[in-house]
């Protein structure tokens, strides 16, 4: 069964890759919603912390999540100097048993309003474009060291009066945790339908293969890294680190490198967080990017 799924997913990804000659459709699906791990430049695919956001990145982490319930909510000011949007993000994860977990996510994005102008330059009104993502993740343990995760997402984009696009995409992830110090994740992400523009051009979603790892060499220090290969022939890699001080304060930093046309451009990230009795507060700030500079993500969470 597993092999069948993988083959099917690869076949799907190739067909999408063939379409992906121009820009990615519905790219905002790839924005990291986690206010903590975005402070590590989004190098988060192998991290099982903050499982509430796993529906957006990797549901395979759910069996390795050290708790039964995790919830988070955040506000994100995305790319304020270029393609600005204000995002509200919500995520919840619940473990039914040691082997099975489920996560839900919801995002609402609100872009800057724009003037509706015809080809003669005549303004007929204004419109505020919005985006929405609803995500569902399912993780199952495969023995003590392996797990499998599947995410499915419904994506909606309203660009104008009577002008909207809908899409679906999915992730299929595998996780390997040989010890408490190291865990590895790999899979394919954002496999979805193509979007057809008014001009009849077709555009693929940013499907890609991902490989990530998390390493905790000493107590309080966590290092995450991941690499992404997009079927549109783009490449990205990110690395981030988190250092915990007295199990309360968390300091984070990271850097993402992305090829020129990659869906999330290169940027640096800084983050700060605090945890106390199951509650947490996290802030991240993106920098070193003309496009994403000054992006801010702040959120609170809770887990038991």
């Amino acid at each position: 069964m597993k092999r069948t799924l993988i083959i099917a997913a690869l076949a799907f990804s190739f067909s999408i890759s063939a379409l992906a000659q121009g820009q990615d459709a519905l790219p905002f699906t790839r924005i990291d919603r986690d206010p903590a791990l975005s402070g590590m430049a989004g190098a988060s695919v192998a991290s099982s912390d903050q499982a509430s956001w796993s529906a957006f990145r990797n549901a395979a982490v759910l069996p390795f999540f050290q708790g039964s319930l995790d919830a988070g909510i955040g506000y994100q000011l995305w790319a304020p100097s270029t393609a600005k949007s204000s995002n509200i993000n919500v995520g919840v994860a619940y473990k039914f048993s040691d082997r099975i977990g489920l996560s839900l996510g919801f995002t609402s994005q609100s872009g800057n309003p724009y003037d509706v102008v015809n080809s003669d330059g005549e303004v007929s009104g204004t419109f505020r474009p919005t985006d929405m993502v609803v995500a569902l993740g399912f993780g199952v343990g495969l023995g003590e060291k392996f797990s499998l995760g599947i995410n499915g997402r419904y994506v909606n984009q309203r660009l104008g009066e009577g002008l909207a696009y809908n899409g679906f995409n999915a992730d299929l992830m595998l996780m390997f945790k040989p010890s408490d110090l190291f865990q590895l994740a790999a899979g394919v992400s954002t496999l979805g339908n193509s979007i057809t523009a008014v001009t009849r051009e077709k555009f693929a979603q940013p499907a890609h293969a991902v490989l990530g790892a998390e390493f905790k060499p000493i107590h309080g220090l966590k290092i995450d890294a991941e690499a992404e290969y997009y079927f549109s022939k783009n490449f990205a890699a990110a690395i981030g680190a988190e250092y915990c001080i007295v199990d309360i304060v968390y300091v984070r930093a990271g850097y993402r490198y992305a090829s020129a046309a990659c869906v999330i451009p290169s940027h640096g990230a800084l983050g700060l967080g605090a945890k106390f009795k199951g509650f947490r507060l996290d802030v991240s700030y993106l920098t070193a990017s003309p496009a994403l500079g000054n992006t801010l993500n702040i959120g609170i969470g809770f887990n038991i």
Binding site: Q21, G22, Q23, D24, A25, L26, P27, F28, R30, I31, W78, A79, S81, T82, A83, K84, S85, Q109, G111, N112, P113, Y114, D115, V116, V117, N118, S119, D120, G121, E122, V123, F127, P129, D131, Q157, L159, G160, L163, Y165, I195, A197, V198, T199, E201, F203, A260, A261, C262, V263, I264, P265, S289, P290, A291, L292
Partner: protein, 874 residues
């Protein structure tokens, strides 16, 4: 066959019209169930008549004459497709006009009328009419009214009661005493029968008919000289000039006396009703004027019973009420009245019996108070009577009807040597034409005018005998009274006179005699012959064939005043015997004066000179005349020809002075000096010549002297103006013509008003470019363009269109700046980065066709200000 059916239907129509019209007179409201007339009712489908002004004519005439529909008029060219125009043809083709009359026809404006045939599927009549009428350069655009004969509608009778009515004595045209005492007609008088074709070979007509030919009868329905014999036209012609006293058929009013060898007046058949297609009635009327006719006989009118149901509905009556003569027919009628019997200079021809013409129309058979074109005031409109001295019940009536004549059961000729009776004002009308022909035969000659004929016909007609009640059809025509009308009694006598010769002309001088009523004698005939006996035994009413004569009108002079006259074109150096004979208005002749003799002189050569001193140096755009002084000392007719010096100069008779001139159209020729030569020859071969030289200076093309700046406006509906003279300059000082165009007419509207004021109106937001082309008479031009942007107030930059489908444009302020532009997608991926020079009228552009649908951010810095704008890709 077609006409037979039409005639039968028309018989019913006349009966029906009588009843319905009376009802409608008291009930103007449209009866229930009747449908309103369609807009094209009574009009020829797909045919408009337009009158171009002279400027427009100059633009299009050459192309149309060459058979090209596309002309130099852009406006007309646009209408070609819009209206589906299939043909534009002159109403009065110039090639059918004798050379000598072309100048006067052009001056009279006949050349400005054109038929426009268009596709009725492409444009309804109202649109065609409105579109054409709104085109600058078109003075008039009107549909062509359908024309119908005043049809026959009753069975034949075998007696011509209309010449001698025994039922009501006196209720006829009273022609018998004229035949007995004065005349039966004169072949010098030509009546053009504008109608169906006349049977020119009819046994009772042929002797008085002019055969088809370039100077004779013509078929305007086919454009040939072959006349198709048809009933209506033949019947009408028979009433006027069926041969009398020949033991055949019927009598015509002015048909001559065959037994005595006297020919009647001549019929010129101007057929415009055809078997398959109708021709131009206007052209047919004009033809008569240019080919010797002085009476135009017209038994036709516009259709009133549109649906041909035999009833005149309220709508049809209302339409008839407003119906008036069409523009082309009016022009032709005016032309006939003015120029029939006249030479190119507008003077009465020596061999014409009348100066000017009379146009006679049937009033119509609809028993209504309206009728066109007969109701035109310059037309003599004829109503119809019956043998009981009553108005024929079908006859139209009203104060506009000038005169009446018998029109019921009229017996006359029909094709193929047959005869028959018919009813209609169509039959009454030729009675008046026949009487008019008799009057001209008796009273015509030098100085006799169409106005005099009108007066004699109308003022002498009997106003008391016809019972028409309140439905006036005018007095009954009376041939005898018309001959006698205005007679001042017995003519006076001339006992002495002076006579002298000038070349082959003999000049007479005498004192105006007093008639029996003490007034100046009406006129004096001058006679000359090389045979003394022909003068000594002169019968002034029928002089011998070797006698030549002329007439001098003296009634306008005082008794005793000196009058002069001339007999022209005699033989040179011959002894002539001469006399003078006064005569009265009714052609009663006095005793001839004593016979004298005179010897004619030699011929003298004509002279040709410039009437103004040269040199004639003009700018290239100018149109000017070089007046000539061309004379013949003997008063002979001259043949004047001109060998042009170039493409611009022609010889013509000035429409203003009547003198010859070289007419130079500068724009037709390039700069240079041109030498033409005028050659003058008299009728006897003596010649003179004159060299004419003129210079056209080089043309200077127009220049742009001020380039308007591009503008940004923020208020749709606002206007601003330019003076074209502030933008362009022509060194020659010539008036320029301007053409203005807008590349985006939904945004901008621009027109030229009063010739030089350019008014630009902003219609809506957007950008448009206005191009103005100034063209001089040599078609050399200069042009400029400028752009207008209408943008909402407060908007500094504009990204459009949004949402964008392919090309995104970014326009800024008026100043052009080089800007770096970046385009990011929703996740911040840089999609485009480039440097472009942009301004309000030179917007930057980004091709977004390869961008996925979504939200994008555009960043750039202009005028020191950084912009971050959101756009959306569809």
């Amino acid at each position: 066959m077609r006409k037979t059916v039409l005639l039968l239907l028309s018989s019913v129509a006349i009966i029906g019209c009588s009843r319905i019209s009376e009802e409608n007179a008291n009930t103007p409201v449209q009866p229930a169930g009747q449908q309103a007339l369609p807009e094209e009712a009574g009009q020829v489908p797909g045919l408009m008549v337009v009158q171009f002004d002279d400027d427009m004519l100059a633009l299009i005439e050459e192309d149309l004459a060459a058979g090209r529909m596309q002309t130099k008029s852009e406006g007309l060219n646009e209408l070609l497709e819009e209206l589906g125009i299939e043909e534009i043809s002159p109403v009065f083709p110039e090639d059918e006009c004798p050379e000598e009359f072309r100048a006067r026809e052009r001056a009279f404006g006949l050349r400005n009328f054109y038929y426009v045939r268009y596709d009725v599927q492409a444009a309804p009549l109202t649109k065609a009419s409105a579109d054409l009428a709104s085109l600058p350069g078109i003075v008039l655009a009107e549909p062509q009214n359908q024309i119908a004969i005043q049809d026959f509608n009753d069975p034949m009778l075998r007696q011509q009661w209309h010449y001698n009515n025994t039922t009501v004595k006196g209720a006829d045209v009273n022609v018998f005493p004229v035949w007995e005492e004065y005349t039966t007609g004169n072949p010098d008088v030509i009546v053009s029968v504008v109608d169906e074709g006349v049977d020119l070979a009819h046994e009772d007509l042929a002797a008085n008919c002019i055969p088809g030919g370039p100077d004779g009868s013509k078929n305007f329905s086919t454009g040939s000289y072959v006349i198709d014999p048809m009933s209506h036209g033949t019947h009408v012609a028979g009433t006027i000039a069926a041969v009398n006293n020949n033991k055949l058929g019927v009598c015509g009013i002015a048909g001559g006396d065959a037994a005595k060898g006297h020919k009647g007046v001549r019929i010129m058949s101007c057929q415009f009703f055809g078997k398959n297609r109708d021709g131009s009635a206007a052209d047919a009327i004009r033809w008569g004027a240019n080919h010797g006719a002085v009476i135009s006989q017209n038994s036709w009118g516009y259709i009133v019973d549109i649906n041909n149901d035999g009833r005149i509905s309220a709508d049809e009556l209302e339409r008839a009420k407003s119906l008036k003569i069409g523009a082309t027919e009016k022009a032709a009628v005016d032309y006939f009245i003015r120029y029939a019997g006249c030479d190119a200079s507008g003077k009465q021809k020596a061999d014409s019996p009348m100066q000017g013409g009379i146009v006679i129309f049937a009033a119509g058979n609809d028993n209504i108070a309206y009728g066109a074109p007969a109701n035109y005031e310059k037309i003599l409109a004829v109503g119809a009577t019956d043998r009981n001295a009553r108005r024929s019940d079908f006859s139209n009536y009203g104060d506009w009807v000038d005169i009446c004549a018998p029109g019921t059961q009229i017996y006359s000729t029909l094709p193929e040597n047959s005869y028959g009776a018919s009813n209609g004002t169509s039959m009454a009308c030729p009675h008046v034409s026949g009487v008019a022909a008799l009057v001209v035969s008796q009273c015509g000659g030098s100085g006799f005018t169409a106005d005099m004929l009108w007066t004699k016909l109308v003022n002498s007609a009997n106003p008391n005998i016809i019972q028409s009640g309140e439905r006036n059809i005018g007095p009954l025509v009376d041939a005898y009274a018309a001959i006698l009308y205005g007679d001042s009694g017995e003519p006076g006598v001339i006992t002495d006179y002076e006579v002298s010769a000038q070349s082959n002309n003999i000049n007479f001088s005498f004192s105006v005699p007093e008639d029996s009523e003490g007034k100046a004698n009406y006129a004096v005939m001058l006679f000359a012959s090389k045979n003394r006996a022909s003068i000594a035994n002169l019968d002034p009413s029928h002089p011998n064939s070797d006698v030549q004569s002329a007439s001098v009108l003296t009634s306008t002079l005082e008794v005793g005043a000196t009058a002069t006259g001339t007999i022209r074109l005699l033989d040179f150096e011959q002894n002539y015997y001469v006399t003078v004979v006064p005569y009265s208005y009714s052609r009663t002749y006095a005793t001839p004066a004593p016979v004298k003799s005179v010897v004619t002189d030699i011929n003298h050569a004509p002279t040709a000179a410039l009437a103004e001193e040269g040199p004639f140096v003009r700018k290239n755009y100018e149109v000017f005349s070089i007046p000539l002084s061309i004379e013949d000392p003997d008063g002979h007719d001259l043949t004047v020809t001109y060998k042009a010096g170039g493409k611009a100069d022609i010889l013509r008779v000035s429409p203003y002075t009547g003198a010859y001139e070289i007419y130079v159209t500068g724009p037709d020729e390039d700069a240079g000096t041109f030498n033409g030569k005028v050659s003058v020859k008299d009728a006897y071969g003596l010649e003179a010549s004159l060299d004419v030289s003129f210079t056209l200076l080089p043309n200077n093309k127009p220049k742009v002297i001020s380039q308007p700046e591009n503008k940004v406006l923020d208020t749709p509906g606002g206007s601003f103006t330019f003076k074209s003279g502030d933008l362009f300059y022509d060194e020659d000082g010539e008036p320029l013509s301007y053409n203005i165009s807008v590349n985006n007419p939904s945004v901008l509207h621009a027109i030229i008003s009063n010739g030089d004021e350019i008014i630009v109106t902003a219609l809506r937001y957007g950008v448009g470019t206005i191009t103005i082309v100034a063209t001089d008479a040599k078609k050399e031009s200069a042009q400029l363009s400028f752009s207008i942007m209408i943008r909402q107030a407060g908007v500094e930059v504009s990204l459009y269109p949004t949402p964008v489908e392919d090309m995104l444009y970014i326009s800024t302020g008026l100043t052009e700046e080089e800007c770096e532009i970046s385009l990011y997608n929703a996740t911040g991926t840089l999609v485009y980065k480039g440097t472009q020079t942009m301004s309000a009228f030179n917007p930057a552009s980004i091709n977004m066709v390869k961008c996925a649908p979504g939200r994008y951010g555009v960043t750039f810095t202009y005028a020191g200000k950084k912009y971050n704008q959101t756009v959306v890709k569809k």
